[in-house]
Symmetry: D2
C-alpha cells in the first residue's frame, strides 16, 4: 500500500498534533501509522505519519504547498516522502563480504525496498557476487600514501549515481571530512563494536583483551569525528572465555549484518530523525 | 508530574486523531506522551495520551463531561485516569516468595506507584515479610475437597479492600470462573512458561523433558480458560543440557519476577488495552 | 589446526574420564578442547574431546582400533572424526531463499567447513543463485496427489551424493517416515516457531492470533513425529502489537537463518549428542 | 549433595587431565561436574571439578596433602573447597536498596548459599530492612574531607567478621588502594554501565547523552584502577529515544541486580578463575 510519510521535528508547544491531524483530516487523509515523541531535555517534538496516498487529493508537490504554512508557523524541520519512490543506495565495501551479501540478498528478495545504484570497493574480491545481482561494481583502490584521488573518484561516483544514502558495509577506510559534511545523515556505517566501547581499529581484539562478556555492533551516521556519529541501532551477543578472537569475529559478523540491515531499513522508511547527536527511531 | 491519561479504543475511521487532538488543543492541553495504533486485522484503533493535569481546566469529572460527545460520536471504549490517583492492588501468593518480595520491594522503594491494599495467601509462610511492610496479611487456606468457602472469603476481601487490580504472584490455585468474569482484565497472573508452550502444571519439568533451549514466563490477564488469557508481557532465558530442573526453576524465578513487574507496571500506568484476546501495550 | 574429535555417550560410572584421558595422555595427545556432562535424570555420561591430530601417532582407523577395548569396557556409543574431513551436506529448499542464501554465503566465505554436495528443490526459483556457487541444483517437483515418486528421487539423490547430513532449509514438504528413519539424527530442519508452541503450518499466523510478545525459531533433528524431534538450537525475537503478520514473518526469517546456521555448525563440528529425545550441545 | 570443588590454573601441557582424573579415579571419586579450558593466548590451562564428598576417603585437609605432589609437579595455582562450608560475605551499600534487597532475598530464600556476616553502609537508610533479616548493620559514615578513618573502620569490620568476600552492592564510595590489594579477587563490585563504556560517575547520564540503544551493567572484581578490574558478568537491556534518564536508571536497576547476583553466585560456587585481568567463569 502506497503511503506518504510526513516527518517533522520542531520546538515543542501546545497544538502541534491538533494542527497536523486537522490538516490531514480536512483532506480526508487515512493515517496508517502515527508516532510522536516529546524530548524533555531538548524541548523538541518529533512526529512521523504514514498516510495512504490514495486517500489524499495531492501529489508530493501539492502536499508540500498545502502544508508549508503550518510548517512555517511551527518552525518545522520537515519532509514528505512517497513510499513508492525508491531511495538510491550506494554500497561501499572492502574485502569482507558478510554485510554486503546480506544487504544484497535482502534487496534481491524484495525485503529492502530501494534501488542499489552501484557498489564501490577498494578491492576486486566482491565483483562477481555484485555483478551476479546486475549491479555495477566500481573498483577504486586507495593509495595509502595519497588517498585524495580515490576519494575524489568516490565522490564523483556517488554524485553520478545520485545517491540518497551511502552505506559503508565494512568499508575499511575513513571517509574525508568534506564527504562527511556534504552527506551529513546520509552516510551509514556499521562499526564492529558496541560503541562507545572500543572506538577505532581491531575492536574484537580490544574486547578480548578487556575480557568483556558481550560483544556488539553499532550502526551510526558518519560524522567527521571517528565512530562518534548519531547511533541508529545496536545489538550484542554473549561471549565467554571459551571464545577465541576468531570466534568473536565470527559472532560479530552476524550481529554486524543484522544491525546494519535494521538501521538501513529504518533509514529507508524515513523512521530516523536526528537531533543534536542523537536519533529518534520510530519503529 | 501529574497527568491525565486518556485511553481510547474504537472502530478505525478518518478523523479520530484530529478530533481528539483538537479537543485537547482547544483547552490548551499539554500532551507529554501520545501513542496510536491501527489494527488492520480487526479494523480497530487504539490511542493513549498523557496530558499535564495542570494544563487543563478540568478535573476528571469535568473532562468526562466535556469529552463524552466525542466518545459517543466515535463509539469509543474509553477511560480517563489521574496519574496521581493510586490504584489499589491486592496481591495473592502461596509459599514461593520471589514474585511477592520483588513487587513489595518495588512498591517500598517507590518504583511502583500504587496502594497495596493487602496480601491474601493460602499459607502463613510469607506473613512476616508482608507485615514488615505494614501491609495486612490474610491467611485464607484452601480446602482441596471444598474450595468454595475459601474463594468466597477471597472475593469478600477483594471487595472489602476495593481492589482495582488483583495480582496472582505465584498463587498456586485456580480462581473460580465467577471471580474471573467479575474481575475481567483486572486479575494479572504470572505463568512460569513461555505460553502457549507448557500450559498447566509443572512447566519446567515439561520444558526439561522436551529439551528446549530457552525457558520463559508469561504475564497475562486471567480468564476462565486456564493460561489462555490476553498476554501482557513475556520473556525468556537461555538454558542448556547442563541445567537441571532445579536450575531451570531458579532461572525461571528471575524471569517470572521481571515479567510480572513489567506487566503490572504497564497495567498501573493504563498502558494495556485489551481487544479480542490480545493486548496493545503502549510502552 | 587439524584435530580429531572423540565423542562419547555411555552409562555414567566412576573412572570414565580417567580412562579416556589416560589413554590420550599415554599417546601424548594434546587436548585442545574437552567437555563433559553427567545427566542425573538418565544416568548417562557425555564427553567430547578435540585432540591435535599431529600430536597422536594414529590415523582415524588406528585410533579406532586402539580405543575399541575402552569403548567396549564402558559400553560406549562413540565416534572419532577428523576435523579436516569435510562432511557432505545436501540442502533442500522450496521457494523461500533466506536460509539457503545464508548457508551458501557462510560456506562460500569459508565460515562453514563442509562440502555442499547439491541442492534439491521442489521449485526452480533458486536455481540461478545456487548455480552461481557452482553447486548442482536438482529440481524434484512434488505432486500433491502422489508424493511417492518425488521422495524416491530425493532418496536416490541423497544416496548418490553420499550425504552425511541433509538440511531442510525451509523445505516446505514433510519427509516420509522411511527417510526419517533411515537418516535418523542426520536430517536437520528449521521450524519457524519457538517449539513446542505452534506446531504445524503457519506458525506466525498462530502466533499473531495468540498475541505472543516473542516469536522464535527452532532447529531440530527430523523424526517421524512432525516438529517433535530433538531440539538443537532455538532463539526468539521481541514483537509487539505494532507488528503485522508480515513483520513477524520478516523478523522470523532472521531468527530462522541464524538458528539454522548455528545448529548446522554445531552438527558439523560433532558438538551435538542425542539421547532419548534431547540433545547435549557442547559449545 | 555435598561436593568438593577442585579448582586449578596452571601452564598448559600434555597430561594434566589424565593426572588429575587418575588421581580422582584412584580414590573412587565421583565427578558430578567437570570443566576445562585451554587458553591459547596465554598458554594457561584452567580446570574445575565437583566431586561427591561422600565418594572420597578424605576431608579437605586430607585431600590437600594427597594432591599436593601433583599440584607441585604441574606448578598449579589451586584450591579445594567444600560446598557445605558457607563463605562469609560482607555486603556494603549506600542509599539505594535494589541490589541489597535482591541479595538479601536470595539469601533469605536459600537461593544463595552463604553466611551474610554483616552489612556496612555510609548511611542509615537501609538499617531496618537489614535488621529484619537478623543481620548486623554497621553505619560507617564517610567524611568527604577525610575518608581515612571510615575506611580504617571498614577494614576493621571486614577483618572482624572474617569475610571471604566483600560485595559492593551499589556502595557509592571508592575503596582505598590498600584495601583493594589486600582483598584482591575478593571484592566484587556492580558498575552501572556496560564497561568499558562510561567509566566513572553517572553512567546513565553519559549513556543518554551518547544516545546508545542498549544500556548495561558489569559485575567485576575491584582493583586499584577504577572500574578496570576483571569482569565476571555483564548484561544489557534495550532502551530507545522514549526513555528518559529516569527510565534508564530504573531499567538499569534490574540489570544491575541480576548481573550482581549471577556474579556473586559464580564466585560463591568457586566458578570464577582470574588470570591476568580476565576471568574464566565455568557455568
Amino acid at each position: 500500500m502506497r503511503t506518504f510519510r510526513l516527518v517533522i521535528a520542531c520546538p515543542d508547544r501546545v497544538g502541534i498534533v491538533a494542527k497536523v491531524s486537522n490538516f490531514l483530516a480536512s483532506y480526508n487523509g487515512w493515517i496508517t501509522e502515527a508516532s510522536h515523541h516529546s524530548d524533555n531535555l531538548s524541548g523538541w517534538f518529533f512526529m512521523r505519519h504514514e498516510i495512504r496516498a490514495d486517500s489524499l487529493p495531492f501529489d508530493l508537490e501539492g502536499f508540500r504547498q498545502a502544508f508549508a504554512p503550518i510548517a512555517e508557523e511551527f518552525s518545522m524541520d520537515w519532509r514528505i516522502t512517497d513510499s513508492a519512490q525508491k531511495k538510491r543506495v550506494v554500497l561501499m565495501a572492502s574485502r569482507e563480504s558478510h554485510c554486503l551479501a546480506d544487504l544484497l540478498h535482502r534487496w534481491h528478495s524484495d525485503e529492502l525496498y530501494c534501488e542499489i545504484a552501484c557498489v564501490i570497493s577498494n578491492h576486486q574480491d566482491l565483483r562477481s557476487m555484485v555483478e551476479w545481482h546486475n549491479i555495477p561494481y566500481y573498483h577504486v583502490p586507495v593509495d595509502p600514501k595519497d588517498k585524495e584521488p580515490a576519494f575524489a573518484e568516490v565522490s564523483r561516483l556517488v554524485k553520478q549515481h545520485e545517491a540518497d544514502v551511502v552505506v559503508l558495509a565494512r568499508y575499511m577506510q575513513i571517509l574525508p571530512p568534506q564527504l562527511c559534511r556534504e552527506y551529513a545523515h546520509q552516510v551509514i556505517n556499521i562499526h564492529h563494536s558496541f560503541l562507545p566501547s572500543f572506538v577505532g581499529a581491531k575492536p574484537y581484539h580490544q574486547a578480548s583483551l578487556r575480557g568483556v562478556k558481550l560483544i556488539g555492533a553499532t550502526c551510526h551516521y558518519v560524522t567527521e569525528e571517528l565512530d562518534a556519529g548519531p547511533i541508529i541501532e545496536q545489538d550484542v551477543v554473549r561471549v565467554s572465555h571459551r571464545d577465541s578472537i576468531e570466534n568473536m569475529v565470527r559472532f560479530g559478523r552476524d550481529v554486524e549484518k543484522m544491525v546494519l540491515a535494521r538501521g538501513l531499513r529504518a533509514h529507508l522508511e524515513d523512521r530516523v530523525l536526528v537531533h543534536d547527536n542523537k536519533t529518534v527511531v520510530f519503529d
